[in-house]
Protein backbone atom coordinates (compact mmCIF):
# COMPACT_ATOMS: atom_id res chain seq x y z
CA UNK A 1 0.00 0.00 0.00
CA UNK A 2 1.37 3.40 -0.81
CA UNK A 3 2.16 5.89 1.91
CA UNK A 4 -0.68 8.30 1.19
CA UNK A 5 -3.23 5.49 1.63
CA UNK A 6 -1.62 4.43 4.89
CA UNK A 7 -1.79 8.00 6.15
CA UNK A 8 -5.46 8.12 5.10
CA UNK A 9 -6.08 5.13 7.37
CA UNK A 10 -4.49 7.03 10.26
CA UNK A 11 -6.63 10.05 9.46
CA UNK A 12 -9.74 7.83 9.46
CA UNK A 13 -8.58 6.37 12.81
CA UNK A 14 -8.46 2.90 11.26
CA UNK A 15 -6.24 0.72 13.43
CA UNK A 16 -5.08 -1.39 10.50
CA UNK A 17 -2.88 1.63 9.74
CA UNK A 18 -0.49 0.51 12.47
CA UNK A 19 -0.39 -3.07 11.23
CA UNK A 20 0.33 -2.00 7.67
CA UNK A 21 2.94 0.51 8.81
CA UNK A 22 4.61 -2.22 10.81
CA UNK A 23 4.64 -4.59 7.83
CA UNK A 24 6.03 -1.95 5.49
CA UNK A 25 8.52 -0.13 7.69
CA UNK A 26 8.91 -2.24 10.85
CA UNK A 27 12.25 -3.78 10.05
CA UNK A 28 13.80 -0.47 8.93
CA UNK A 29 12.58 1.30 12.04
CA UNK A 30 13.76 -1.52 14.29
CA UNK A 31 17.10 -1.52 12.58
CA UNK A 32 17.38 2.26 13.00
CA UNK A 33 16.59 1.95 16.71
CA UNK A 34 19.01 -0.94 17.12
CA UNK A 35 21.78 1.07 15.46
CA UNK A 36 21.32 3.78 18.08
CA UNK A 37 20.71 1.77 21.22
CA UNK A 38 22.40 -1.52 20.41
CA UNK A 39 19.88 -3.62 22.30
CA UNK A 40 17.35 -5.75 20.48
CA UNK A 41 14.61 -5.78 23.08
CA UNK A 42 14.75 -2.03 23.60
CA UNK A 43 14.82 -1.52 19.84
CA UNK A 44 11.53 -3.40 19.59
CA UNK A 45 10.08 -1.25 22.36
CA UNK A 46 11.18 1.86 20.46
CA UNK A 47 9.56 0.54 17.30
CA UNK A 48 6.26 -0.04 19.12
CA UNK A 49 6.44 3.36 20.79
CA UNK A 50 6.93 4.84 17.33
CA UNK A 51 3.61 3.40 16.15
CA UNK A 52 1.88 4.78 19.24
CA UNK A 53 3.38 8.20 18.67
CA UNK A 54 2.44 8.08 14.98
CA UNK A 55 -1.12 7.17 15.95
CA UNK A 56 -1.16 10.11 18.37
CA UNK A 57 0.27 12.66 15.96
CA UNK A 58 -1.47 11.78 12.68
CA UNK A 59 -3.54 13.92 12.55
CA UNK A 60 -2.66 16.78 12.88
CA UNK A 61 0.38 15.76 10.82
CA UNK A 62 -0.29 14.34 7.38
CA UNK A 63 3.05 12.91 6.21
CA UNK A 64 1.66 11.46 2.99
CA UNK A 65 4.78 12.12 0.98
CA UNK A 66 7.35 11.44 3.70
CA UNK A 67 5.88 8.75 5.94
CA UNK A 68 9.12 6.81 6.47
CA UNK A 69 11.10 9.94 7.33
CA UNK A 70 8.30 11.00 9.69
CA UNK A 71 8.31 7.64 11.47
CA UNK A 72 12.08 7.43 11.50
CA UNK A 73 12.32 10.84 13.12
CA UNK A 74 10.06 9.61 15.91
CA UNK A 75 12.11 6.42 16.29
CA UNK A 76 15.34 8.39 16.43
CA UNK A 77 13.95 10.71 19.10
CA UNK A 78 12.63 7.84 21.22
CA UNK A 79 15.84 5.87 20.84
CA UNK A 80 18.03 8.82 21.78
CA UNK A 81 15.91 9.38 24.89
CA UNK A 82 16.32 5.70 25.76
CA UNK A 83 20.08 6.03 25.48
CA UNK A 84 20.06 8.98 27.82
CA UNK A 85 17.62 7.56 30.34
CA UNK A 86 18.60 3.92 30.59
CA UNK A 87 22.09 3.55 31.96
CA UNK A 88 22.03 -0.22 31.43
CA UNK A 89 22.24 0.40 27.68
CA UNK A 90 25.68 1.95 28.23
CA UNK A 91 25.26 4.23 25.25
CA UNK A 92 25.82 7.52 27.06
CA UNK A 93 29.47 7.66 26.01
CA UNK A 94 28.49 7.11 22.37
CA UNK A 95 25.96 9.95 22.49
CA UNK A 96 28.45 12.12 24.34
CA UNK A 97 31.00 11.61 21.60
CA UNK A 98 28.53 12.42 18.82
CA UNK A 99 27.52 15.52 20.76
CA UNK A 100 31.17 16.51 21.07
CA UNK A 101 31.57 16.15 17.31
CA UNK A 102 28.49 18.31 16.76
CA UNK A 103 29.83 20.90 19.16
CA UNK A 104 32.77 21.42 16.83
CA UNK A 105 30.28 22.86 14.36
CA UNK A 106 29.01 25.52 16.74
CA UNK A 107 30.90 28.83 16.49
CA UNK A 108 30.48 29.73 20.17
CA UNK A 109 29.03 26.85 22.15
CA UNK A 110 27.38 27.82 25.41
CA UNK A 111 24.80 26.53 27.84
CA UNK A 112 22.25 29.21 27.08
CA UNK A 113 18.94 28.14 25.61
CA UNK A 114 18.97 27.98 21.83
CA UNK A 115 18.57 31.43 20.37
CA UNK A 116 17.46 30.37 16.95
CA UNK A 117 14.05 29.00 16.10
CA UNK A 118 13.58 25.64 14.46
CA UNK A 119 12.47 27.06 11.14
CA UNK A 120 15.58 29.19 10.77
CA UNK A 121 17.82 26.35 11.94
CA UNK A 122 16.14 23.98 9.51
CA UNK A 123 16.84 26.37 6.62
CA UNK A 124 20.39 26.74 7.81
CA UNK A 125 21.12 23.02 8.09
CA UNK A 126 19.38 22.10 4.85
CA UNK A 127 21.04 25.01 3.09
CA UNK A 128 24.37 23.68 4.23
CA UNK A 129 23.50 20.14 3.15
CA UNK A 130 22.52 21.38 -0.29
CA UNK A 131 26.08 22.64 -0.77
CA UNK A 132 27.50 19.13 -0.26
CA UNK A 133 27.69 16.54 -2.97
CA UNK A 134 25.43 13.51 -2.58
CA UNK A 135 28.05 11.23 -1.08
CA UNK A 136 29.24 13.72 1.53
CA UNK A 137 25.66 14.64 2.40
CA UNK A 138 24.73 11.00 2.88
CA UNK A 139 27.78 10.34 5.03
CA UNK A 140 26.96 13.36 7.21
CA UNK A 141 23.35 12.21 7.58
CA UNK A 142 24.33 8.61 8.32
CA UNK A 143 26.55 9.84 11.13
CA UNK A 144 24.45 12.58 12.69
CA UNK A 145 20.92 11.60 11.78
CA UNK A 146 21.10 7.81 11.78
CA UNK A 147 23.92 7.91 14.37
CA UNK A 148 25.91 5.22 12.56
CA UNK A 149 29.40 4.19 13.66
CA UNK A 150 32.38 5.15 11.53
CA UNK A 151 32.94 1.48 10.70
CA UNK A 152 29.35 1.03 9.53
CA UNK A 153 29.52 4.12 7.34
CA UNK A 154 32.81 2.97 5.84
CA UNK A 155 31.25 -0.36 4.91
CA UNK A 156 28.10 1.22 3.58
CA UNK A 157 29.91 3.60 1.28
CA UNK A 158 32.74 1.22 0.39
CA UNK A 159 35.49 3.49 1.65
CA UNK A 160 38.14 3.43 4.30
CA UNK A 161 37.34 4.51 7.84
CA UNK A 162 39.99 7.18 7.54
CA UNK A 163 38.23 8.63 4.51
CA UNK A 164 34.95 8.69 6.43
CA UNK A 165 36.63 10.49 9.32
CA UNK A 166 38.22 12.98 6.94
CA UNK A 167 34.91 13.60 5.19
CA UNK A 168 33.10 14.15 8.48
CA UNK A 169 35.83 16.43 9.74
CA UNK A 170 35.58 18.55 6.59
CA UNK A 171 31.78 18.58 6.76
CA UNK A 172 31.87 19.76 10.37
CA UNK A 173 34.34 22.49 9.49
CA UNK A 174 32.17 23.56 6.56
CA UNK A 175 29.02 23.61 8.68
CA UNK A 176 30.80 25.79 11.20
CA UNK A 177 31.96 28.14 8.41
CA UNK A 178 28.42 28.15 7.01
CA UNK A 179 27.01 29.19 10.38
CA UNK A 180 29.55 31.96 10.75
CA UNK A 181 29.04 33.17 7.18
CA UNK A 182 25.26 33.27 7.59
CA UNK A 183 25.73 35.32 10.73
CA UNK A 184 24.07 32.89 13.07
CA UNK A 185 25.05 32.53 16.68
CA UNK A 186 23.47 29.37 17.93
Amino acid sequence: MDDSKIVELYLCRDETAVKITSEKYGSRLRSLAYGIINDRQTAEECENDTYMEAWRTIPPHEPKSYLYAFLARITRHISLNCCRNRSRLKRSAFIQELSAEMEQCIPAPDDVECRIDDMALSELINGFLSTLNEEKRNIFIRRYWYLNSIADIAKRFAMSESKVKTTLFRCRSRLREHLIKEGYTI
Binding site: Y68, K90, A93, F94, S99, R137, S162, R170
Partner: protein, 393 residues
Protein backbone atom coordinates in the same frame (compact mmCIF):
# COMPACT_ATOMS: atom_id res chain seq x y z
CA UNK B 1 23.59 25.85 22.14
CA UNK B 2 25.65 22.78 22.95
CA UNK B 3 26.51 19.80 20.80
CA UNK B 4 23.84 17.56 22.29
CA UNK B 5 21.14 20.04 21.31
CA UNK B 6 22.47 20.39 17.78
CA UNK B 7 22.54 16.60 17.53
CA UNK B 8 18.88 16.60 18.58
CA UNK B 9 18.11 19.31 16.02
CA UNK B 10 19.41 17.17 13.19
CA UNK B 11 15.79 15.97 12.98
CA UNK B 12 15.23 19.19 11.07
CA UNK B 13 17.05 17.72 8.10
CA UNK B 14 14.82 17.56 5.04
CA UNK B 15 12.99 14.17 4.94
CA UNK B 16 14.04 13.75 1.31
CA UNK B 17 17.71 13.86 2.35
CA UNK B 18 17.02 11.40 5.18
CA UNK B 19 15.32 8.98 2.80
CA UNK B 20 18.09 9.32 0.24
CA UNK B 21 20.73 8.51 2.82
CA UNK B 22 18.90 5.29 3.66
CA UNK B 23 18.81 4.00 0.10
CA UNK B 24 20.43 0.62 -0.41
CA UNK B 25 23.76 0.94 -2.14
CA UNK B 26 25.16 -1.45 -4.65
CA UNK B 27 28.78 -2.51 -4.81
CA UNK B 28 29.35 -2.11 -1.12
CA UNK B 29 32.55 -3.46 0.25
CA UNK B 30 31.50 -6.61 2.06
CA UNK B 31 28.64 -4.73 3.60
CA UNK B 32 26.10 -7.42 3.77
CA UNK B 33 28.33 -10.26 4.60
CA UNK B 34 28.18 -11.25 8.17
CA UNK B 35 31.56 -12.89 8.37
CA UNK B 36 31.00 -15.54 10.88
CA UNK B 37 34.51 -16.46 11.80
CA UNK B 38 37.54 -14.40 12.41
CA UNK B 39 36.41 -11.16 11.00
CA UNK B 40 35.95 -7.72 12.28
CA UNK B 41 32.80 -8.56 14.14
CA UNK B 42 35.15 -9.92 16.75
CA UNK B 43 36.89 -6.59 16.97
CA UNK B 44 36.51 -6.48 20.68
CA UNK B 45 37.02 -10.07 21.23
CA UNK B 46 39.47 -10.75 23.95
CA UNK B 47 38.41 -8.09 26.35
CA UNK B 48 34.90 -6.97 25.68
CA UNK B 49 33.77 -10.22 24.23
CA UNK B 50 35.00 -12.12 27.18
CA UNK B 51 33.43 -9.89 29.73
CA UNK B 52 30.12 -8.88 28.33
CA UNK B 53 27.37 -11.11 29.51
CA UNK B 54 29.36 -12.75 32.27
CA UNK B 55 27.44 -13.21 35.44
CA UNK B 56 28.24 -11.37 38.64
CA UNK B 57 30.06 -11.16 40.89
CA UNK B 58 33.24 -11.83 38.90
CA UNK B 59 34.62 -13.26 35.68
CA UNK B 60 37.89 -14.90 34.82
CA UNK B 61 39.22 -13.65 31.53
CA UNK B 62 42.46 -13.83 29.65
CA UNK B 63 44.23 -10.58 28.84
CA UNK B 64 47.01 -11.40 26.41
CA UNK B 65 47.43 -14.79 28.07
CA UNK B 66 47.26 -13.51 31.65
CA UNK B 67 44.20 -14.65 33.59
CA UNK B 68 42.46 -11.81 35.40
CA UNK B 69 39.56 -12.02 37.80
CA UNK B 70 37.38 -9.01 37.14
CA UNK B 71 34.16 -7.64 38.51
CA UNK B 72 31.15 -7.95 36.28
CA UNK B 73 31.91 -5.15 33.86
CA UNK B 74 31.18 -4.42 30.29
CA UNK B 75 33.40 -2.68 27.81
CA UNK B 76 32.37 -1.37 24.46
CA UNK B 77 34.98 0.12 22.24
CA UNK B 78 34.58 1.72 18.89
CA UNK B 79 36.67 3.90 16.68
CA UNK B 80 37.20 7.52 17.52
CA UNK B 81 36.29 9.92 14.77
CA UNK B 82 39.58 11.72 15.10
CA UNK B 83 41.18 13.22 12.03
CA UNK B 84 44.77 13.65 13.12
CA UNK B 85 46.75 16.76 12.22
CA UNK B 86 49.36 16.09 9.57
CA UNK B 87 52.26 15.85 12.02
CA UNK B 88 50.43 13.25 14.08
CA UNK B 89 49.77 10.93 11.16
CA UNK B 90 51.97 7.96 10.38
CA UNK B 91 53.71 8.13 7.02
CA UNK B 92 51.20 5.77 5.40
CA UNK B 93 48.34 7.82 6.82
CA UNK B 94 49.93 10.98 5.41
CA UNK B 95 50.64 9.76 1.91
CA UNK B 96 47.59 7.72 1.04
CA UNK B 97 47.25 7.89 -2.73
CA UNK B 98 49.33 6.69 -5.64
CA UNK B 99 48.40 7.00 -9.31
CA UNK B 100 50.14 4.31 -11.34
CA UNK B 101 49.38 3.93 -15.04
CA UNK B 102 46.22 5.95 -14.52
CA UNK B 103 44.98 3.70 -11.72
CA UNK B 104 44.46 4.85 -8.15
CA UNK B 105 46.01 2.85 -5.33
CA UNK B 106 45.47 3.51 -1.61
CA UNK B 107 47.88 2.91 1.25
CA UNK B 108 47.55 0.00 3.65
CA UNK B 109 49.62 -2.13 5.99
CA UNK B 110 53.39 -2.42 5.95
CA UNK B 111 54.98 -5.35 4.13
CA UNK B 112 58.29 -7.05 4.81
CA UNK B 113 61.22 -6.23 2.48
CA UNK B 114 61.58 -9.95 1.66
CA UNK B 115 58.32 -9.75 -0.32
CA UNK B 116 59.53 -6.98 -2.61
CA UNK B 117 60.30 -7.69 -6.29
CA UNK B 118 61.11 -5.41 -9.27
CA UNK B 119 61.36 -1.66 -9.00
CA UNK B 120 58.61 -0.09 -11.11
CA UNK B 121 60.05 3.40 -10.91
CA UNK B 122 59.51 6.62 -9.02
CA UNK B 123 56.01 8.00 -8.75
CA UNK B 124 54.25 10.78 -6.88
CA UNK B 125 52.31 9.86 -3.79
CA UNK B 126 49.93 12.40 -2.33
CA UNK B 127 48.15 13.16 0.89
CA UNK B 128 45.82 15.81 2.20
CA UNK B 129 46.07 17.82 5.40
CA UNK B 130 42.48 18.49 6.41
CA UNK B 131 43.55 21.04 9.02
CA UNK B 132 45.27 23.36 6.56
CA UNK B 133 43.59 22.25 3.35
CA UNK B 134 47.04 21.65 1.89
CA UNK B 135 47.87 18.82 -0.47
CA UNK B 136 51.22 17.15 0.15
CA UNK B 137 53.16 15.39 -2.55
CA UNK B 138 56.38 13.42 -2.58
CA UNK B 139 58.14 11.10 -4.96
CA UNK B 140 58.61 7.51 -3.84
CA UNK B 141 59.99 4.27 -5.20
CA UNK B 142 57.25 1.86 -6.25
CA UNK B 143 57.82 -1.89 -6.38
CA UNK B 144 56.04 -5.00 -7.49
CA UNK B 145 55.24 -7.46 -4.69
CA UNK B 146 56.60 -10.92 -5.52
CA UNK B 147 54.07 -12.95 -7.47
CA UNK B 148 51.34 -10.33 -7.34
CA UNK B 149 49.93 -8.48 -10.33
CA UNK B 150 50.87 -4.80 -10.29
CA UNK B 151 47.32 -4.17 -11.44
CA UNK B 152 46.13 -5.28 -8.01
CA UNK B 153 48.75 -4.45 -5.37
CA UNK B 154 52.10 -2.69 -5.30
CA UNK B 155 54.55 -1.72 -2.56
CA UNK B 156 55.65 1.86 -1.97
CA UNK B 157 58.79 2.72 -0.02
CA UNK B 158 58.07 5.46 2.50
CA UNK B 159 60.64 6.46 5.10
CA UNK B 160 62.62 3.28 4.45
CA UNK B 161 59.64 0.96 5.03
CA UNK B 162 57.49 -0.77 2.42
CA UNK B 163 53.72 -0.37 2.43
CA UNK B 164 51.11 -2.25 0.43
CA UNK B 165 49.05 0.03 -1.81
CA UNK B 166 45.93 -1.62 -3.19
CA UNK B 167 43.86 -0.76 -6.25
CA UNK B 168 40.94 1.39 -5.20
CA UNK B 169 38.60 0.57 -8.05
CA UNK B 170 36.03 -2.18 -8.02
CA UNK B 171 37.48 -4.57 -10.59
CA UNK B 172 36.47 -8.10 -9.59
CA UNK B 173 38.30 -11.06 -11.15
CA UNK B 174 36.43 -12.85 -13.92
CA UNK B 175 36.84 -16.19 -12.21
CA UNK B 176 38.54 -17.93 -9.31
CA UNK B 177 41.59 -18.75 -11.43
CA UNK B 178 42.21 -15.07 -12.11
CA UNK B 179 42.12 -14.32 -8.41
CA UNK B 180 44.45 -17.22 -7.63
CA UNK B 181 46.90 -16.00 -10.28
CA UNK B 182 46.72 -12.24 -9.74
CA UNK B 183 47.59 -12.61 -6.08
CA UNK B 184 49.56 -15.88 -6.18
CA UNK B 185 47.11 -16.84 -3.54
CA UNK B 186 48.40 -20.34 -2.94
CA UNK B 187 51.84 -18.98 -2.11
CA UNK B 188 50.67 -15.95 -0.17
CA UNK B 189 47.80 -17.27 1.88
CA UNK B 190 47.57 -20.04 4.43
CA UNK B 191 44.25 -21.81 4.87
CA UNK B 192 45.13 -23.64 8.04
CA UNK B 193 42.98 -21.99 10.69
CA UNK B 194 39.22 -22.09 10.42
CA UNK B 195 35.99 -22.14 12.27
CA UNK B 196 33.13 -24.38 11.35
CA UNK B 197 29.83 -22.58 11.11
CA UNK B 198 26.18 -23.34 10.83
CA UNK B 199 24.88 -20.23 9.14
CA UNK B 200 26.30 -17.37 11.16
CA UNK B 201 26.82 -19.49 14.25
CA UNK B 202 30.33 -20.75 14.88
CA UNK B 203 30.24 -24.34 16.08
CA UNK B 204 33.96 -25.02 16.53
CA UNK B 205 37.51 -23.71 16.05
CA UNK B 206 40.12 -25.83 14.31
CA UNK B 207 43.43 -25.90 12.50
CA UNK B 208 44.93 -28.08 9.78
CA UNK B 209 48.54 -29.18 9.54
CA UNK B 210 48.51 -28.90 5.79
CA UNK B 211 46.31 -26.93 3.40
CA UNK B 212 47.78 -28.40 0.17
CA UNK B 213 44.70 -30.50 -0.56
CA UNK B 214 42.43 -27.48 -0.28
CA UNK B 215 44.53 -25.58 -2.81
CA UNK B 216 44.50 -28.64 -5.03
CA UNK B 217 40.69 -28.63 -5.04
CA UNK B 218 40.55 -24.87 -5.57
CA UNK B 219 42.90 -25.22 -8.54
CA UNK B 220 40.46 -27.64 -10.16
CA UNK B 221 37.83 -24.89 -9.91
CA UNK B 222 39.79 -22.19 -11.70
CA UNK B 223 36.96 -21.53 -14.12
CA UNK B 224 34.49 -20.94 -11.27
CA UNK B 225 32.85 -17.68 -12.24
CA UNK B 226 32.67 -14.56 -10.19
CA UNK B 227 29.01 -14.42 -9.27
CA UNK B 228 28.73 -11.10 -7.50
CA UNK B 229 29.20 -9.33 -4.26
CA UNK B 230 25.68 -9.24 -2.95
CA UNK B 231 25.40 -11.77 -0.18
CA UNK B 232 22.20 -12.07 1.74
CA UNK B 233 20.89 -14.80 3.96
CA UNK B 234 22.60 -17.53 5.89
CA UNK B 235 24.94 -19.99 4.31
CA UNK B 236 24.09 -23.33 5.84
CA UNK B 237 27.15 -25.30 6.89
CA UNK B 238 30.38 -23.52 5.97
CA UNK B 239 34.04 -23.23 6.85
CA UNK B 240 35.45 -19.79 7.54
CA UNK B 241 39.20 -19.70 7.14
CA UNK B 242 41.11 -16.93 8.87
CA UNK B 243 43.03 -15.07 6.18
CA UNK B 244 46.15 -13.17 7.21
CA UNK B 245 48.96 -12.41 4.77
CA UNK B 246 51.90 -10.05 5.00
CA UNK B 247 52.37 -9.95 1.22
CA UNK B 248 48.72 -9.16 0.60
CA UNK B 249 48.63 -6.61 3.42
CA UNK B 250 45.63 -8.27 5.05
CA UNK B 251 44.94 -9.20 8.64
CA UNK B 252 42.35 -11.71 9.78
CA UNK B 253 39.94 -11.52 6.93
CA UNK B 254 37.74 -14.40 5.83
CA UNK B 255 37.87 -17.00 3.10
CA UNK B 256 34.66 -18.96 3.36
CA UNK B 257 33.65 -22.24 1.70
CA UNK B 258 29.93 -23.00 1.85
CA UNK B 259 28.35 -26.43 1.53
CA UNK B 260 26.13 -25.19 -1.29
CA UNK B 261 29.24 -24.63 -3.38
CA UNK B 262 30.42 -21.05 -3.00
CA UNK B 263 33.67 -19.32 -2.11
CA UNK B 264 32.94 -16.04 -0.36
CA UNK B 265 35.76 -13.79 0.63
CA UNK B 266 36.53 -10.24 1.70
CA UNK B 267 40.27 -10.61 1.14
CA UNK B 268 40.45 -7.59 -1.11
CA UNK B 269 38.02 -5.20 0.59
CA UNK B 270 35.11 -5.97 -1.70
CA UNK B 271 33.07 -9.10 -1.28
CA UNK B 272 33.96 -11.62 -3.96
CA UNK B 273 31.85 -14.71 -4.54
CA UNK B 274 32.68 -17.62 -6.83
CA UNK B 275 30.56 -20.66 -7.55
CA UNK B 276 32.78 -23.73 -7.32
CA UNK B 277 29.92 -26.23 -7.13
CA UNK B 278 28.79 -28.38 -4.25
CA UNK B 279 31.03 -31.33 -5.17
CA UNK B 280 34.23 -29.33 -4.81
CA UNK B 281 32.90 -27.65 -1.69
CA UNK B 282 32.07 -31.01 -0.17
CA UNK B 283 35.60 -32.25 -0.90
CA UNK B 284 37.01 -29.32 1.08
CA UNK B 285 34.51 -29.68 3.90
CA UNK B 286 35.12 -33.43 4.18
CA UNK B 287 38.89 -33.03 4.14
CA UNK B 288 38.66 -30.40 6.87
CA UNK B 289 36.34 -32.61 8.93
CA UNK B 290 38.71 -35.57 8.69
CA UNK B 291 41.94 -33.70 9.34
CA UNK B 292 40.96 -30.94 11.70
CA UNK B 293 42.64 -30.46 15.04
CA UNK B 294 40.77 -28.58 17.73
CA UNK B 295 42.15 -25.12 18.40
CA UNK B 296 41.41 -22.26 20.74
CA UNK B 297 39.25 -19.44 19.37
CA UNK B 298 41.46 -16.80 17.89
CA UNK B 299 40.39 -13.28 18.82
CA UNK B 300 40.62 -10.58 16.18
CA UNK B 301 42.63 -8.58 18.65
CA UNK B 302 42.99 -8.19 22.39
CA UNK B 303 42.18 -5.30 24.67
CA UNK B 304 42.89 -4.28 28.20
CA UNK B 305 41.47 -1.42 30.20
CA UNK B 306 42.22 0.47 33.38
CA UNK B 307 43.27 3.80 34.80
CA UNK B 308 46.26 5.59 33.29
CA UNK B 309 48.52 6.04 36.30
CA UNK B 310 51.82 7.27 34.90
CA UNK B 311 53.21 8.89 31.77
CA UNK B 312 56.95 8.96 31.17
CA UNK B 313 58.87 9.92 28.04
CA UNK B 314 59.08 6.25 27.08
CA UNK B 315 55.90 4.58 28.23
CA UNK B 316 52.61 4.81 30.05
CA UNK B 317 51.30 2.58 32.82
CA UNK B 318 47.71 1.36 32.92
CA UNK B 319 46.42 -0.08 36.19
CA UNK B 320 43.43 -2.45 36.06
CA UNK B 321 42.69 -2.43 39.82
CA UNK B 322 39.41 -0.65 39.19
CA UNK B 323 38.17 -3.69 37.30
CA UNK B 324 39.35 -6.34 39.72
CA UNK B 325 36.99 -8.36 41.88
CA UNK B 326 39.61 -8.06 44.60
CA UNK B 327 41.46 -4.74 44.58
CA UNK B 328 44.62 -6.46 45.80
CA UNK B 329 44.82 -8.28 42.45
CA UNK B 330 45.35 -5.09 40.43
CA UNK B 331 48.11 -5.19 37.79
CA UNK B 332 49.98 -2.50 35.93
CA UNK B 333 50.61 -2.82 32.23
CA UNK B 334 53.36 -0.99 30.39
CA UNK B 335 52.62 0.51 26.98
CA UNK B 336 55.55 2.00 25.11
CA UNK B 337 55.16 5.35 23.41
CA UNK B 338 57.59 4.71 20.56
CA UNK B 339 54.67 4.24 18.16
CA UNK B 340 53.04 7.45 16.92
CA UNK B 341 49.66 5.68 16.87
CA UNK B 342 49.87 5.57 20.67
CA UNK B 343 51.87 8.68 21.59
CA UNK B 344 49.53 10.96 19.63
CA UNK B 345 46.72 10.12 22.00
CA UNK B 346 48.81 11.58 24.82
CA UNK B 347 50.41 14.46 22.90
CA UNK B 348 47.45 15.62 20.83
CA UNK B 349 44.26 14.10 22.16
CA UNK B 350 45.28 14.92 25.72
CA UNK B 351 44.68 11.58 27.39
CA UNK B 352 46.30 12.03 30.78
CA UNK B 353 46.94 10.50 34.21
CA UNK B 354 43.68 9.54 35.90
CA UNK B 355 41.83 8.87 32.65
CA UNK B 356 40.19 5.54 32.00
CA UNK B 357 41.76 4.03 28.89
CA UNK B 358 41.32 1.01 26.69
CA UNK B 359 44.35 -0.42 24.93
CA UNK B 360 44.04 -2.62 21.84
CA UNK B 361 46.87 -4.93 20.86
CA UNK B 362 47.65 -7.92 18.69
CA UNK B 363 50.68 -9.33 20.50
CA UNK B 364 51.20 -10.78 23.96
CA UNK B 365 52.21 -9.42 27.35
CA UNK B 366 55.82 -9.75 28.40
CA UNK B 367 55.60 -10.32 32.14
CA UNK B 368 59.37 -10.29 32.60
CA UNK B 369 59.58 -6.85 31.02
CA UNK B 370 57.15 -5.36 33.55
CA UNK B 371 53.96 -6.50 31.81
CA UNK B 372 54.98 -4.75 28.61
CA UNK B 373 52.18 -5.04 26.06
CA UNK B 374 53.33 -5.99 22.58
CA UNK B 375 51.69 -5.04 19.31
CA UNK B 376 49.73 -2.12 20.72
CA UNK B 377 48.03 -0.19 17.96
CA UNK B 378 45.33 1.83 19.62
CA UNK B 379 44.61 3.73 22.80
CA UNK B 380 41.19 5.15 23.62
CA UNK B 381 39.74 7.22 26.39
CA UNK B 382 36.87 5.60 28.27
CA UNK B 383 34.33 6.55 30.87
CA UNK B 384 33.64 4.77 34.10
CA UNK B 385 30.02 4.13 34.88
CA UNK B 386 28.37 2.12 37.57
CA UNK B 387 28.17 -0.71 35.09
CA UNK B 388 31.82 -0.61 34.17
CA UNK B 389 33.74 1.14 31.44
CA UNK B 390 32.55 2.30 28.10
CA UNK B 391 34.49 3.94 25.35
CA UNK B 392 32.89 6.58 23.18
CA UNK B 393 32.72 6.08 19.49
Amino acid sequence: MRGNMLLEKMTLIDPAYVEAADAILKKNKSTRIKWAAAAACLALAAFAGSIIGQTPPSSRISIGGIIRKYKNVSVTENLLAIEWPWEYKTISEQYTTLILDGKEFLSGRSVDASRIADNLGRYDVTGFDTYTGQEHRMTAEVYRIAGISQDRLVAVKLDGEFYVFSRNEYVPPKNLGEMLDDYSLEQNLSLERFSECDGYKETGFYRLNDDAYIWQVLNTCRSAEFTGDDILGEDGRNLSFTATSDALGIYKRVFCVTEDGYIKTNLFDYAYIFHIGSTAAEQILSYAAENRIEAAPEPYMSSLAGILTEITDEYILVDDTVLCADEKDGMRFKIYLDDLRISRHIDFEGITVGDVVVVSFTGSIDVEAGNAVEGVYSLSRGFLSEDGISVPE
